[in-house]
């Protein structure tokens, strides 16, 4: 018995030494106060600082002043976080309420031994190890739930370095509800953000740069996606909710971070919309104007603010005359007609020519109020009475 105890004690001591060694190894380097451009093997920033020498970026080290919030740390978000970490971003704030699962292993970043851990915590430990200079903050909750949404608002407003608002929000979520929630938050706080998405069939994706009031917000129009020509009605979905490929996700994350870096470090042109069709390697780009009748009241408010700003700071634009194609004769009476979806609007036809389409169209009158009566005008019953009535049914 006592022999067993002492051998176990010895085993514990042995393991403790191993843990200490691993912990030591886990700290590959100390923090670096100032990014150096010195070219030597031990400088993790030499290749990034070289962007200045190459004349691409004026002040690379300013990246350390920025805070980026990433909402959704899945197939796109985790890779996005890793890229920004390796680039030496000042601070990353991660939001996700999911856990790592073995079913995620067809994507990049997470490793099998992390299964069961929360995605934000697993990501933090990997990222902190890659670059100890980056500050991390993690939030493990669903942002569409009221109190969590309020907490996210607070975080986006004060989570930046020096308690400032964050500099950029990157949406890497996989559902409409969370996108609308991020949209609402960014319109409210007047924060610039990027929306990103990969189709459920894994062969297309997009990124969209949204500046409240200046470009279309997420609910200004039905979401714009890449038309891959795969008829959605024929898609086999039995037993699965979504397919995914590490390739498509990696490409979208690359496009997302590339444009985020261009915006933050002020080089090149930041795209408003980039689509990706994996089936024919097609990358449509376009501009999206805000909708003056947008459903989101804060969006409309931001648009008005921007118009006031524009009036004070007019932008001189070179307007290119659009060439109208006119066919002199049309002996055969050929005209363009809508496809199988019934009426296709002029705008939709233009989009489809560019390889894009809306996920659906706002119907002018989907349900006629005359067909189905609406709820009665206030009939005097108060909410408590209605609640009690429902409960007693």
């Amino acid at each position: 018995m006592s022999g067993e105890v002492s051998s176990l004690k010895a085993r514990i001591a042995d393991l403790e030494t191993q843990v200490a060694v691993l912990k030591n190894e886990a700290q590959t380097r100390g923090k670096i106060d100032k990014m150096s451009a010195e070219v030597k093997d031990s400088n993790p920033y030499s290749r990034l600082m070289a962007l200045q020498k190459m004349g691409i970026v004026k002040n690379y080290e300013s990246i350390r002043d920025f805070t980026v919030a990433i909402v959704g740390v899945g197939g796109v978000g985790s890779v996005t976080a890793e890229m920004l970490t390796r680039c030496g971003i000042g601070k990353l704030i991660l939001f996700d309420y999911d856990s790592v699962e073995l079913a995620n292993m067809n994507r990049l970043f997470f490793q099998p031994h992390q299964a069961g851990q929360s995605k934000v915590e697993a990501a933090r430990s990997t990222l902190q190890f890659i670059n100890p200079d980056v500050k991390f903050e993690t939030h493990n909750y669903n942002i569409t739930v009221l109190q969590h949404y309020d907490n996210m608002i607070e975080t986006l407003q004060t989570g930046g370095l020096n308690s400032s608002p964050v500099d950029l929000v990157l949406s890497c979520v996989d559902n409409f509800e969370a996108r609308v929630a991020i949209n609402r938050a960014c319109n409210t706080l007047n924060l610039h953000w990027f929306e990103s998405g990969v189709a459920e069939n894994a062969v297309s994706g997009h990124i969209q740069y949204i500046r409240p009031g200046i470009s279309a917000c997420f609910v200004c129009a039905p979401p714009l996606i890449v038309a891959t020509g795969v008829d959605e009605k024929t898609l086999k979905r039995d037993g699965v909710c979504a397919a995914s490929l590490p390739t498509t996700m990696g490409i979208i994350a690359g496009l997302l971070v590339q444009n985020a870096l261009k915006k933050l470090l002020q080089f090149g042109d930041t795209s408003n919309y980039v689509g990706y069709n994996a089936l024919n390697d097609f990358f449509p780009t376009m501009e999206l104007k805000p909708n003056t009748n947008c459903d989101d009241a804060s969006c409309v408010k931001r648009q008005q603010e921007y118009q006031v700003w524009l009036a004070a700071n007019p932008i001189v634009e070179v307007v290119e005359e659009a060439v109208q194609v006119v066919h002199e004769d049309n002996d055969w009476g050929i005209s363009l007609v809508g496809g199988e979806d019934g009426e296709v609007t002029e705008e939709e036809t233009k989009l489809r020519a560019m390889g894009l389409k809306h996920t659906f169209q706002f119907a002018k009158k989907e349900l006629n109020d005359q067909d189905i009566p609406a709820v009665q005008e206030d009939d005097g019953e108060d909410l408590e009475a209605l609640m009690a009535k429902m409960k007693s049914m």
């Binding site: 569409t144 037993g239 909710c241």
Partner: protein, 168 residues
């Protein structure tokens, strides 16, 4: 877009009028909640009359969290499931995400936490009908058809089995 069967279901549920969510003006939200309850009461009454009573719902007093029961009858046996969902901060622009937590992990047509998978047909229909659709519509056009397809399949696979109702 709306087929005959859907139109028939819809004809039994009054449409809502007030576009307001839990983060908006509290007065408007109370108005919206009253409309939600009116529509739900009418829908349950319609179901009862048609001999097709299949769910009950109630909410906390703020109307932000909903819970209740739904049931599916097959071979004279009544299978009952707990329902729960939160009203999202983006409601009514986005539909509520109805969850049946006890079925989590038993079918692929579910997201984490037992939220039923509704993307294809229902969500575009909802988006086109903001703010006229409410919780009653989400039940009738979302959960109803989902149960009708998924529960028989889960019973056939043996992942859902009949449980004698416990005495209250």
């Amino acid at each position: 877009m709306v087929d005959e069967a859907t139109r028939k279901t819809l004809s039994g549920i009054p449409l809502l009028k007030t576009k307001s969510g839990p983060k908006d003006d509290p007065k408007l939200w109370v108005q919206r909640l009253k409309e939600e309850y009116q529509a739900l009461i009418k829908y349950v009454e319609t179901n009862k009359t048609a001999g097709n009573d299949w769910f009950r719902l109630e909410s906390n007093k703020e109307g932000t969290r909903w819970f209740g029961k739904c049931w599916h009858v097959q071979d004279m046996l009544k299978y009952e499931f707990e329902i729960e969902f939160d009203i999202p901060v983006t409601y009514p622009t986005t539909a509520p995400e109805i969850a049946l937590p006890e079925l989590d992990g038993k079918t692929a047509k579910m997201y984490r936490g037992g939220k039923i998978c509704l993307t294809d047909h229902f969500k575009p229909l909802w988006s086109k009908n903001v703010p006229k659709f409410g919780i009653a519509h989400a039940m009738a056009l979302g959960l109803g058809p989902w149960l009708a397809v998924e529960i028989p399949e889960m019973i056939a696979k043996g992942v859902v089995t009949y449980q004698e109702k416990k005495a209250d």
